[in-house]
Amino acid sequence: MKLAIIQRILLGFVLVIAVIVLNFFLLQAAPGDVVDAMLAEAGGGDPELAAKLRASYGLDQPVFIQMLKYLGQVLKGDLGYSFYYDESVTELILGHLPTTLMLTLSALVIAVVMGTLFGVYAAMKPKGFFSNFVTVFSLFGYATPVFWLGMIILLVFALYIPLFPAYGIRSIPEPEHWFDRFLDIVNHLVLPTFTLAILYLANYSRISRASMLDVLGADYIRTARTKGLSEPKVIFKHALKNAALPVVTLAGLQLGQVFSGAVLVETVFSLPGVGPLLYESIVRRDYPVILGVLFGAAVTTIVANIITDLIYQRMDPRIQSIT
């Protein structure tokens, strides 16, 4: 089993390199480069300056050489420098990452726990009011564009009923005490987390309801009841562990997206996360930053996949080992 994990990690490593190469060439396909973007921002400039700038960024060399240079750099653990910020990409991303991770991970945890409970409860009385509510709510959450939901929540809970701050991650000026600073950040994160969680939650309650309904009809559930087990034990021990498998699959997929999957929510709530950094870098053709974020996203996805497989194996003994 240990060998299988090492195998998976090596495979993931190869995959990451492939992703880097692919991303590099894909970016070249977009029209214009960082110099065009800079000159456009500055209101135009002469071709001589442009050529000089390109040479200073190494953009005058053939694409293939550029790619090899970048790859070599990444393998040494260096993601390069941002053209725009003139700062190390690694530091730039690490500076934006905590905000994103706080948002996405808390939304994910809330959604998985609540969504599963919703689904289980709905499945216990499949024709009851709550079950129908879950169905409608899931459809709503599934179909609503997240930026619209975010704006409505923003309007209601930050403007009409000003309970929470409308933008950013910190108050200016920041509170003195560390605990107050912590509360301040939590306060800023409530609305965006809520927005993202509703969206995720819809999916989890839908999937766990369906999966639970399926499992509750299984023969081993009937066996558990004929053994005289109590209903909570039947539901939470015998049914849930089987019904949770699809939930784990979905959670694994979304775990892969925690790195850069909240662009819209972060933009609506003006959070200084990885999402807006990526978006702005695309506009500015700041290739090293874009590539850096995509690299981070690829690594996160692959790691999340390996973790999901390991959890799967723990939960379902029929899956022998990952290969």
Partner: protein
């Protein structure tokens, strides 16, 4: 060793005259109704029978006749909605199980009445070890420590003749064969030495040699513990192998009841006679294999749109005009009855 439940007892033997005190389970007028699109459909109509201590009662009938539903009704496990028990009594230890609280009922399940099923492949939870599922049953009904329960589980596996029980107990259901899984289901049902063991087609999914082993095991357990077994099956071979008495069901009715010998050799109901005729027999005569088996013409009646009169009437070779009316249950002796107009006429003649 072979106790009072030897199968070829003559009718009206001592066993059938035993006093009520020896009755393990007594079912009176049990009726089950399903609501299909707002319309009540009767699935079981006034089923009455009793099971003596240490005896095997075979319930036989074709698919959809209500035999499995009877088993589930005894355990109060009819899926509800849409199903519900519309009336009757299920008496176990002078306690009507249809009236006890849900909590009491769940304490009865697995302790006083246990059940094993047709599908050993899917009846065990795939994500827990055999030991885990046995131990939780033991600890549900007995106050013992985890270690004691573990030891007891190993002992149970030994009783159901599973080789290397200490090893098997740590395995998951998918690592075991079908026969092995059915043995584990039996072990699980035996945790508290139940008074009644309901076996719902326990060997249908198993091959013939394993089937014989499972029957031997059940007989063995019955002799040791005096367990009453209700064997539900569509296979007359299984009934002949196991049962002391037989109850024949058709379309939710009990249509005939008697000892194995009475049913096998003196069947009174045309349906039972048809059922027996359609059983293949081993013969040395090669031509016999080439002649098609007799069958009962027609198919099972539609329970949603029931016709008045005898449920078997439309398929019955001996049907008369009278069969448009519901035949009464005719008593032919102790625990011997048939629901047919023919028996009424014979009795009158």
């Amino acid at each position: 060793m072979i106790g009072p439940m030897k199968q070829d007892n003559p009718p009206n033997s001592a066993k059938q005259q035993t006093p009520q005190g020896n009755t393990a389970l007594k079912v009176d007028n049990l009726s089950v109704v399903f609501d299909v699109k707002g319309k009540p459909v009767t699935i079981l109509s006034d089923i009455t029978f009793s099971v003596e201590r240490g005896e095997t009662l075979g319930i036989i009938g074709e698919s959809g006749c209500g035999k499995s539903m009877t088993a589930l009704a005894l355990m109060r496990m009819i899926p509800s909605p849409p199903g519900r028990i519309a009336g009757g009594e299920v008496n176990l230890n002078s306690e009507n199980l249809l009236e006890v609280t849900k909590k009491r009922m769940s304490a009865v399940r697995g302790k006083e009445i246990s059940m094993i099923f047709q599908e050993p492949m899917t009846s065990l939870n795939p994500v827990y070890t055999v030991g885990n599922q046995l131990v939780e049953t033991i600890r549900r009904h007995k106050t013992v420590s985890a270690t004691e329960a573990q030891e007891e589980a190993v002992e149970l596996l030994r009783i159901v003749q599973i080789p290397a029980p200490e090893k098997r107990i740590k395995e998951y259901p998918h690592q075991l064969s079908g026969g092995m899984r059915q043995r584990i289901m039996i072990a699980m049902a035996l945790v508290c030495n139940p008074k009644v063991l309901i076996a719902d087609e326990p060997t249908t999914a198993l091959d013939v040699t394993v089937q014989a082993q499972i029957f031997d095991l059940l007989k063995d357990i019955q002799q040791k513990n005096g367990t009453s077994i209700i064997l539900i099956t569509h296979d007359f071979g299984a009934v002949s192998e196991m049962a002391d008495r037989v109850l024949v069901m058709y379309a939710g009715f009990k249509i005939e009841e008697g000892t194995l010998d009475e049913i096998r050799n003196h069947a009174a109901h045309p349906y039972t006679q048809g059922l027996l005729r359609s059983m293949p027999e081993l013969s040395t005569d090669h031509d016999a294999f080439r002649t098609p088996l007799p069958e009962i013409p027609g198919s099972v009646p539609d329970l949603i749109n029931r016709q008045p009169g005898c449920p078997f009437g439309p398929r019955c070779p001996s049907a008369t005009a009278k069969c448009h009316e519901m035949p009464p249950m005719v008593d032919l002796g102790a625990n011997r009855s048939v629901m047919c107009w023919l028996a009424v006429e014979e009795g009158a003649a």
